[in-house]
């Protein structure tokens, strides 16, 4: 059994010496093939040796339709080419439509198949059954999980973009916050006059308080000294008074003679007797 037929590698091989648009009998093959060529050409060119690349570019220069530009990159097409039944490009159906209508390609397909079978160009053998099985598995898999896989791939790309966008948005937000803060600071600056006045008042009050406190201290100190002098004088007078009283009492006591003492006691007894008589009488 033969190896899988390699689909004609586009771009590089074709461009070497043979212009692509040579067989322009129908526009459709040209469209399909040119699409392939345009997509695969850069990679194919890069894989050649440099002299071969130069040769290819030189030969294909007459075919260039637009000016060469490398930046900005031309955008990727949004979707791949339209395909019917997963295999056959839509351009084929459009190509056959003018001559054979809608059923043309299907008739072609059926006829071709029947021709191959009837002439036994394709022989039905065990591989046919195996082919049917594996094709069933593949088609079932694609139909069931195709959309999910595509959504998964899109999600991966979306996440990649979202990360980058998140970085950009956070930077923007940070800068906007900085702008807001700056505006607030500018508003604050306008009120600095009041701030300085308040501060100045504070300081003046502090100074005043301090001065008054010191004044009070001075007053207290002076009063203390004067009180001391007053107390000294009072003490001195007190001492003199006490001393004099003591001296007088001492002299008086000394001057009382015994005769005088007897006389005063007799007088006292007489007075007492008189008093007691008066008291008895009162009672």
């Amino acid at each position: 059994s033969a190896a899988i037929l390699v689909r004609g590698k586009p771009g590089g091989h074709r461009g070497e010496g043979q212009p692509v648009g040579r067989a322009v009998t129908g526009s459709v093959p040209f469209d399909m093939l040119s699409r392939l060529v345009l997509r695969a050409a850069p990679a194919a060119l890069r894989s050649l040796a440099p002299p071969a690349t130069v040769g290819v570019l030189h030969v294909t220069r007459p075919l260039h339709t637009t000016q060469q530009r490398s930046a900005p990159l031309p955008p990727l097409p949004e979707k791949g080419g339209e395909v019917r039944h997963g295999l056959i490009p839509e351009e084929f159906f459009q190509f056959l439509y003018p001559k054979t209508g809608v059923t043309g390609p299907y008739m072609l397909g059926t006829g071709l198949l029947l021709y191959l079978l009837s002439k036994e160009i394709y022989v039905i053998n065990h591989e046919t059954v195996a082919a049917a099985c594996i094709l069933t598995v593949i088609i079932y898999g694609v139909k069931k999980y195709g959309a999910d896989v595509a959504a998964f791939a899109d999600k991966l790309n979306e996440e990649k973009m979202a990360q980058a966008l998140a970085v950009k948005n956070e930077a923007i937000k940070g800068l906007e916050t900085a702008i807001e803060e700056e505006k607030k600071e500018q508003w604050r600056v306008e009120g600095r006059k009041y701030l300085f006045d308040a501060k100045r008042n504070n300081i003046a009050m502090l100074l005043e308080t301090n001065y008054r406190e010191r004044l009070l201290t001075v007053y207290n100190e002076v009063k203390k000294r004067l009180d001391y002098q007053v107390a000294m004088q009072n003490l001195k007078r007190q001492k003199e008074q006490d001393h004099m009283i003591q001296w007088v009492e001492k002299n008086v006591v000394q001057s009382i003679t015994p005769q005088q003492q007897k006389d005063s006691i007799a007088k006292c007894i007489l007075d007492l007797k008189a008093l007691s008589k008066r008291a008895q009488a009162a009672v």
Partner: protein, 227 residues
């Protein structure tokens, strides 16, 4: 064309030109090469995701030195995966059904791990020949057994892959032959056989992927021991 059961396993020739090289390298054409766009198409994105998954899985148990093998192991895995899966299509030739190719892959890689181990840490590499905690009388016998097990590894690797794929393909051939032969005689039995074939095909798809994974996983395990 009339096919015998050998035709699937013969190396393909076209007009006397051997096509074996093309059939081995063709799967690489199906993998899109990365271009310098940041957001790529779905196929490239999925391919990149798959390669990251494979590489991460293989490299997690390995130390830093083992990471030098990342490219080799990932590309080997991709090659085997694509070759095996493409071989399930009809009229294809699967290079991994050939013992020569699988031995050519298994033997040098296994030998590389062995020599790396013996060169960089010979005591540890030889120490693997004796499991821990073996009773002393058993040591000589166990060493010989472990040596045999070590030397048979490349054979096992190669033959495992070959046998699995060849057996699978052969079974598909035989059962589909049975289906075709029974179709005019007993259509119901033919339908039953077709059902068996359908299940077998699903199994073969799984086996194709698993065998590729097992091949690369075992190589990474041998590498883990020795690096």
């Amino acid at each position: 064309m009339n096919l015998s059961f050998f035709d699937q396993f013969t190396s393909p020739y076209l007009l006397g030109i051997p096509l074996i090289l093309i059939s081995m390298l063709f799967p690489a054409l199906l993998l899109p090469s990365p271009n310098n766009r940041w957001i790529t198409n779905r196929l490239s994105t999925l391919q990149l995701w798959l390669f990251h998954l494979i590489t991460k899985q293989l490299m997690i148990p390995l130390n830093k030195n083992g990471h030098k093998w990342a490219l080799l192991l990932t590309s080997l895995m991709t090659l085997l995966l694509t070759i095996n899966l493409l071989g399930l299509l009809p009229y294809t030739f699967t290079p991994t059904t050939q013992l020569s190719m699988n031995m050519a892959l298994a033997f040098p890689l296994w030998l590389a791990t062995l020599l790396t181990g013996l060169r960089n840490q010979p005591s540890i590499a030889l120490g693997h020949l004796l499991p821990e905690g073996t009773p002393t009388p058993l040591i000589p016998a166990l060493i010989m057994i472990e040596t045999t097990s070590l030397l048979i590894r490349p054979l096992a690797l190669g033959v495992r892959l070959t046998a699995n794929l060849t057996a699978g393909h052969l079974l598909i051939q035989l059962i589909s032959t049975a289906t075709t032969a029974l179709l005019p005689i007993m259509p119901t039995i033919s339908l039953l056989t077709a059902l068996i074939l359908f299940l077998l095909t699903i199994l073969e798809v799984a086996v194709a992927m698993i065998q590729a994974y097992v091949f690369v996983l075992l190589l990474s395990l041998y590498l883990q021991e020795n690096i």
